[in-house]
């Protein structure tokens, strides 16, 4: 094994893109005692959870605004509370994952376009308060009719409407920047998937938030959610169809624990969407469909997260593609 053109004289690795070859036979490669070249991500499951809650918040805000504009008050309330709940959980998870949680505000020292985490911090900083105002405005009917609080009661709806629309304007950025957050790393399976991840996450966010809406909103108002779940599923499936076909670095999306989570996500997404479409007359079926959609989003996020960790831990995913690239450029390696 003096170079990566293996001993039987021809290249053993199939190239990505042909769609047929999902499993790639192991290529010969050198490593330092099998040790990883990269440092696997130190992010805990907090970050996988955040991928889910952040997407849920974004989807909730969009649903809230859509319901607000089309006059579906109960659905609007559900959307807004989903957004606030999601963004609150997100903030907690993000701060909790830090090595120094007491220094979370150091993120606010700078704004850097080259750091998706910095961009994301500012997106969250904009989204959080807007989602909060929109949700709290829903409490207006609880206030007394008269006095100062009566004034607040009358002011709350328009303020909430403005905040709700503004939150919805930021929401798509919140749901999709996380794709860049993962891709802008040296982690092979995340980086190579950069064209797909934002679409997978956008679709998954819509599916999850539609799921919550199907569970919590009255059936008379959920017609748009059925269409939205279908749209989200389509975006996720079409955007994600290339994940396993990336060649060697697509392997973790198809195999092992991470592969099983991705598959589970897709099955749940298909089942949930199908159930949602026929759930108009059954409250129970709608709730089941909603639960499947939410679960699908969780599975997909954890699956993508895990796939990246797997690809960083095995030197194969780092060395083989780089060696192939190098050999294409310079001809096969010279070994003494």
């Amino acid at each position: 094994m003096t170079d990566t053109t293996s001993s039987d004289g021809h290249r053993r690795r199939g190239r990505g893109g042909d769609g047929e070859q999902l499993t790639v036979p192991p290529a010969d490669f050198s490593s330092y005692y099998g040790r990883p070249v990269l440092k696997p991500p130190v992010w805990k499951h907090d970050i996988a959870g955040y991928l889910f809650t952040g997407g849920l918040a974004a989807g909730g805000a969009l649903i809230g605004a859509g319901a607000q504009v089309t006059g579906r008050p109960e659905l609007r309330t559900v959307g807004r509370w989903t957004a606030l709940g999601g963004v609150t959980a997100s903030t907690y998870l993000l701060v909790h994952d830090l090595g120094r949680p007491d220094r979370f505000h150091h993120m606010l020292r700078v704004a850097k376009l080259t750091s998706p985490m910095s961009v994301g911090t500012w997106i969250l900083a904009a989204f959080g308060p807007l989602a909060g105002v929109a949700a709290v405005a829903e409490l207006a009917p609880l206030l007394p009719q008269h006095g100062v609080l009566g004034l607040a009661r009358r002011l709350a709806p328009p303020v909430g409407h403005a905040a709700g629309l503004a939150a919805a304007a930021v929401a798509p950025a919140l749901a999709t920047y996380t794709g860049v957050l993962l891709a802008d790393t040296a982690v092979p399976s995340w980086h190579d998937a950069y064209p797909s991840l934002p679409f997978v996450f956008a679709g998954s966010a819509l599916a999850a938030a539609s799921g919550v809406g199907l569970i919590a909103a009255p059936a008379t108002q959920t017609a748009p959610l059925r269409r939205l779940a279908l749209a989200g599923a389509t975006v996720e499936m079409v955007g994600g169809r290339r994940l396993e076909r990336l060649g060697l670095t697509g392997e973790p999306y198809a195999r092992g624990r991470s592969g099983r989570m991705i598959t589970a996500g897709r099955v749940l997404l298909t089942v949930g969407t199908a159930a949602a479409l026929v759930s108009r007359c059954s409250r129970l079926l709608a709730a089941i469909a909603g639960a499947a959609l939410v679960a699908s989003s969780v599975a997909t996020r954890f699956g993508v997260f895990e796939a990246g960790r797997v690809s960083a831990r095995d030197p194969k995913y780092t060395v083989v593609p780089q060696r192939e690239r190098l050999d294409e450029k310079n001809g096969p390696a010279i070994r003494p």
């Binding site: 150091h106 985490m117 798509p172 939205l228 060395v319 780089q322």
Partner: protein, 347 residues
């Protein structure tokens, strides 16, 4: 106006970071052909920089028990035994029967070991499959025998072999992914063109750790922050040589202005080629490579991956504009399908 090569391609990083009249870019040239694996660099670095102890376990894979660069080991001496000659014209055991000194099974066990370095992810176990795959071929890499070749096994069993040793360190990349992605501005570019973590700023988000294409930077447990080589920023400021280069007894680690080091390295490769060591090659010296060249570069005697280095790293931020474009497209799709879903007719 950012430089056209701000994310990728040749660049002088200190002026690009805004320094006026920056001193020349400084770096390390690590010539592994004269490294004797004494680990004086590891020790000197720990002493000067007050780096905590990083575990005293034996890893059982070679004479390298540090294992990797971590937050608690800013220099790491890699050690590799290979059953072939050191590059002399006449190999020491030419004509003698030879073969691998240790079985693939041993290599697989070695890959699974770990040591508590006090850092995260520190020194995670490797892939036994990868270790076995290598040792099964003629290019065996594994735990060296405890005795000189032939003493235990008799002449029939002895092998021709060489030892590769390399002192690894942060590369202080021209395009440093760690610095690009740091959301707090803790990682910064010094006037010498090096890359340094500010320990009073870092909040331990861990982004730099996933971004580094060389697996250098790491998080210290308990402390929570990211740590790595500073190229002895404090010593540089005082006009002194970094501790590791100062301590290296064979001048395997050379410190100086990068331009000068590059010339010296090219001359050294030429000399080695003349002396019959055709496998000598430079790693990380090319300003046109995927990270715009490293300020800490190496002379190697085998492929980079044999030493645990990525063969052709590319800074992840090269593709960042394309990534933001995809995210923008996905965001617009998301907004559009929501509008369509709500515009549909009422049931």
């Amino acid at each position: 106006m950012p430089h056209a090569n701000a994310l990728y391609g040749p660049l002088d990083p200190a002026p690009d970071a805004g320094y006026v009249d920056a001193p020349p870019r400084m770096g390390f040239f690590t010539d592994t052909s004269v490294c004797i694996g004494c680990k004086a660099c590891e020790v000197a670095c720990k002493e000067w920089n007050l780096v905590p102890e990083s575990g005293l376990d034996l890893l059982g894979m070679s004479y390298d028990n540090t294992g990797a660069l971590t937050a608690n080991s800013w220099r790491h001496v890699a050690f590799v035994e290979q059953p072939r000659s050191t590059g002399q014209e006449i190999p020491a055991f030419e004509g003698q029967p030879d073969g691998p000194s240790v079985s693939p099974a041993t290599a697989a066990v070695g890959a699974r070991t770990s040591s508590d370095t006090g850092t995260d992810p520190g020194l995670p176990p490797g892939s036994p499959a990868a270790a076995t795959r290598m040792s099964a071929g003629p290019e065996f890499l594994g735990m060296p025998g405890a005795q000189p070749p032939g003493r235990g096994s008799g002449a029939q069993g002895r092998t021709d072999f060489r030892w590769l040793m390399m002192s690894d360190v942060c590369k202080h990349c021209t395009h440093a992914a760690c610095l690009d992605v740091c959301p707090t501005g803790s990682l910064f570019r010094t006037e010498f063109g090096t890359v340094v973590v500010q320990e009073d700023i870092c909040n331990g988000c861990g982004y730099c750790i996933s971004a580094c294409p060389y697996g250098v930077i790491d998080q210290r447990k308990g402390d929570g922050r990211a740590w790595k080589c500073t190229l002895c920023y404090d010593r540089l400021g005082a006009g002194m040589t970094p501790a590791c280069a100062q301590a290296c007894p064979t001048e395997s680690i050379q410190y100086g202005p990068l331009e000068e080091l590059r010339e010296r390295a090219a001359a050294r490769v030429e000399t080695l080629h003349e002396r019959g060591v055709p496998e000598a090659r430079l790693y990380g010296e090319d300003p046109n490579d995927g990270v715009g060249g490293d300020a800490a570069f190496f002379l190697l005697l085998d492929e980079p991956e044999v030493y645990g280095l990525p063969p052709d790293p590319i800074v992840t931020t090269r593709d960042l504009p394309a990534m933001w474009k995809r995210a923008g497209l996905a965001a617009m799709t998301m907004a559009a399908v929501t509008v369509v879903a709500f515009l549909g007719r009422r049931p």
